[in-house]
Subunit: 344 residues, 4 copies
């Protein structure tokens, strides 16, 4: 079985696992107060070009989004996201669990439109009763989005500029950040960091066993954040495990290489499917590829290839998602092609 279901089906990238093994017997203090975490923080600050940023490590994405947004938002402030945003759909109401409304704007293949953001904020404050409505107190976007699309540098600048105008932070969910950066023509890690207030560098989907690194570019935005993390159950006792992994990911450019590897193979996969006459329903430049396939093809290749079903499209076709990762190989793509061709 060749698997394209998602990018977190196996364990860790071998280089990351090797570091965990190598340091297994090293004894350190807990809760992230160890030399591995310190080293990882230093490497991340350097890679982002943000010497003053605060860096925090957490275990998973939902936990990270909920904890960071709970820290960024005032007690009852809401966060603006597009309808397809992960926090609005697939986190079981974790944001609302913490008391915060997710205010939704339309999703444009996963992206938020700067003009719509500005219009929303203008209309909100034009209504005299706004103190009795949920005050929009942060902006959440994903890079890449849940649809694999990515913002241009200009779009990031526009969103950030609008957020600043209204005095609210722009927070970026980077669960697949490495794949997004590899797919972008103009956004680099330092440029991303320069155009938002806080973001997280996803590890779980990028070759770590688990782990996400929050970069709070403006260090005053998350005061007393360690206590908040503890109350959220978001501090790992053996925090060193997060430090070890991120230190490795940010050594020898590994994080970016994993991103590039995934995107390269996603493009190969796309070429293979397009050359066999199939079409995408979302134009994604990153490691998620969204295709319309005839149901007969799906039925035929399913015993050999796995991918995610996204719903019907008419009577005879379906929408499916293929995801590549650090594990995907050129041979996997060739094999996929072979299974597809067998149709002819």
């Amino acid at each position: 079985m060749i698997r394209f279901d998602t990018d977190y089906m196996a364990g860790a990238h071998p280089a990351v696992l090797e570091e965990i093994i190598k340091n297994n017997r090293v004894q350190t203090p807990g809760y992230g107060h160890d030399a591995f975490c310190e080293q990882a923080r230093k490497l991340i600050r350097e890679a982002c070009g943000t010497p003053d940023a605060q860096v925090f490590f957490m275990v998973g994405g939902t936990q990270t989004n909920a904890t960071v947004l709970d820290g960024l938002l005032p007690r009852i402030g809401g966060v603006i996201a597009v309808e397809s945003g992960h926090i609005n759909v697939h986190e079981a109401g974790a944001i609302e669990f913490c008391g915060h409304k997710v205010i939704t704007l339309p999703s444009h293949q996963g992206k938020m439109c700067p003009k719509e953001l500005r219009a929303y904020l203008q209309d909100f404050y034009a209504d005299d009763t706004w103190p009795y409505m949920t005050v929009p107190s942060a902006v959440y976007i994903s890079f890449p989005t849940e649809n694999g699309t990515i913002y241009t540098l200009q779009e990031l600048k526009d969103l950030h500029s609008i957020a600043r105008e209204y005095g609210i932070p722009l927070y970026i969910d980077g669960a697949r950040l490495g794949f997004g950066l590899a797919a972008s023509r103009d956004v680099t890690l330092p440029l991303l960091a320069a155009n938002c207030d806080a973001f997280y560098i996803g590890g779980t989907k990028m070759g770590a066993l688990f782990g996400e690194a929050v970069v709070c570019v403006n260090p005053s935005l998350l005061p007393a954040f360690e206590s908040l993390m503890k109350a959220h159950g978001s501090i790992l006792a053996k925090g060193r495990l997060l430090g070890i992994q991120f230190a490795r990911l940010f050594t020898d450019n590994l994080y970016m290489e994993i991103g590039k590897h995934g995107v390269d193979l996603a493009m190969k996969l796309r070429n293979v499917l397009e050359s066999r006459g199939f079409h995408t329903f979302i134009d994604s430049p990153s490691n998620q590829q969204f295709f319309i396939l005839p149901n007969c093809v799906i039925d035929r290749i399913s015993p050999f290839v796995s991918f995610e079903y996204w719903g019907p499209r008419g009577e005879n076709e379906s929408k499916v998602r293929f995801v590549t990762s650090w594990e995907t190989t050129a041979e996997d793509i060739l094999a996929l092609d072979a299974f597809i061709r067998a149709d002819g």
Copy 2:
């Protein structure tokens, strides 16, 4: 100044106030454990035809919605409402503050479409990942809606039937219930009670100084509710004040008469405006009337008549809302007509 801004601009209906005055020196236990509250509960149960219902009194609408929904919903369950629903717009995120997501469906002039409700629930459970999404655990509608519209009996039956099918309660926000019942051709208080699981009978907008009466038709749905009310800060120390007011409102048919009075005058107001050539932008049969007026008319009558501005409509016209109440008189409508006519 003749005021049509809203229905809670003055104090209490004289008959209600009189009861408060009359009983001012009567000493009773606190927290709603008094004979006035007991009498009011009895009268409400009788009026609703629900001898087993639990009846709770609270002070205001947002408080009532938040406390009741927090009681009806499981810890992280969400509540389905239309986009224009009061809990989704004008309660400052009070539902999310309690940990619950408001899941939105389209608003059809304030109403929820039973077919869309069914489709949403079907699609939700058709997605295998539903346990990681917010589980829809109650349905919220308003009667009348925030747009003055009202559900037919068949629509209520359909919504209730779908909710039951999915094992979740239907809760009705009756902030202006009396006006809705007066405007309805087929929904009576007992029929409303028979076609939902819980609702509240609004007092604040219906002639009380303040107060809302929650009717929990299925008494098992809100166990230990007094403790939850206390934790929400929703129990009035001198609960007798709520008992006194609701006992009076449900004596001699006063509640229904206030509703009828408001709706009759709203229809008169509508006739006046339509006869002068103006059009509604929402077709409301209850005490809120929604008109498009030329800006020049608005400017001219505003020194004498107050109403609520709902936004522009093109360059020369605006949307406005007129609301009648127990205070509105036939003379007020005639005076409005005079101010309008002066235009000719």
Copy 3:
């Protein structure tokens, strides 16, 4: 039946009720944005000698404590109170419902000892793991306390000074503030305001139908508080009712006179009981009096006099509480004396 159960058994002081009646038909905007509230805020600021204070009106005490503390505290900050503090015992966990731990110190007849407060704070920060414990972020005391006792001016100064040293606000629950001020030898309303960061002036127990007035001495401590109040369900639609009542209470010294009346009669009551040979188990100078009575006396007078049972004291005696209010008369005390004497 002569009632000494508590101070909120009847409606409103006649002078307060008269104002409500007089202004019943005046139409105003809602939510506290009316001239009555503006006037009440002005009178309260003057009475407190705090021209810059923010003044907010809410309906009840539990609601007020929960909303204000949720505003004063950071997201997960805790509040220090004595074990017998109202927020720790009789508010059904309303503070924890909002996410905040109540950290308890010993109760000295209801009072917090400044030395114990300092010691707690010193010990807390002496423990290196404090960021993983609940950070004490506000101090809550009651004036008078739940045991009727009152802090001296020096004690208030000491508590305030310690709180300031640690950068946390001192908040005073003034549910019975007027009785506390009347009982104090050195604390006046301006001195109380000068020695805390926020407090509330109780109305419900001081002759209002309902209502509490929050005075936020340092106006920067509760930003965007109206939105938080709305989310807590703490804003009264017809806010004018709170303005009308507090404007009257703070006209012609009525609030202080009600306080003095209650305390004078409490002292008379105390004299009567002590002259009959009974003893207090708490030495309270305010309107709550705590006596030990033989069970046979209790049984004999209970058909004629009501008061609160506070538990057994040995086999033949019980602890009871007598409370006076604006309603209590000199005749009530004489009648109590007569019932007691009948024992002899």
Copy 4:
């Protein structure tokens, strides 16, 4: 440096790490829906003798306590714990963050006294105002306690019986469960499971990289728990990692052997210190040992041996804690002895 600071200073027990390495490339579905987790659940059910129990895996202890208690408790129910309980002290208010009060009873060297539990519950319901107080809705104890002490089987039976009588669950925090079982004379894993409603088997402190296994003996107590876990951010994307580790820990008796190893060495450590004339200040039979040491001894051995400082004891002595783990060796104890002896 020989380290006795705590039991989570290094990575994983070699046998556990080996399984992670071996299965690194196996691809599985996420969120705990994989064969490793299924196998671990089966092994745990067998070891506990609870074929119907639900087993859930989470990452850390604070997360586990907060998520499970939020699931066990009604919306605003409180949980009874002793003052020294981990949830009351060292979880940054994580329980209150979820809306629940921690109600405290005295700590007897970390243990709850069954008689005091019963007395508390009796007194609570003897007070008529209990619906306005926090309703005790679960009992939390630790096995072993934060002071290393352990409950006898009879004590567990008594606590469970009282909890059942009041219809509330008994939940056991088993962060160091293996050490507690190894230290107990009469409590085995099946007997522990038979005498509570839910508990967790700690992994983080027992040789796993991380991870805790919740055993819900009564499977009806945590309905829809996966959604609650997701909302708490408590579901690990690569849940397989938890399954792999617990499957190994519950194969070939490894979990119990790690427990026995730690306790054996703790007893050796105790003998060494006692034979040198030092005394314990808590009598702990498990892997935490609490000694009073002269400050001069502490100063002298600190460059070579690390342990935890628990505060001063008079002028010349201090309280310290030594902890053993799967890593501790007999050589470590001999070396400690050598450093101590060098004093003579």
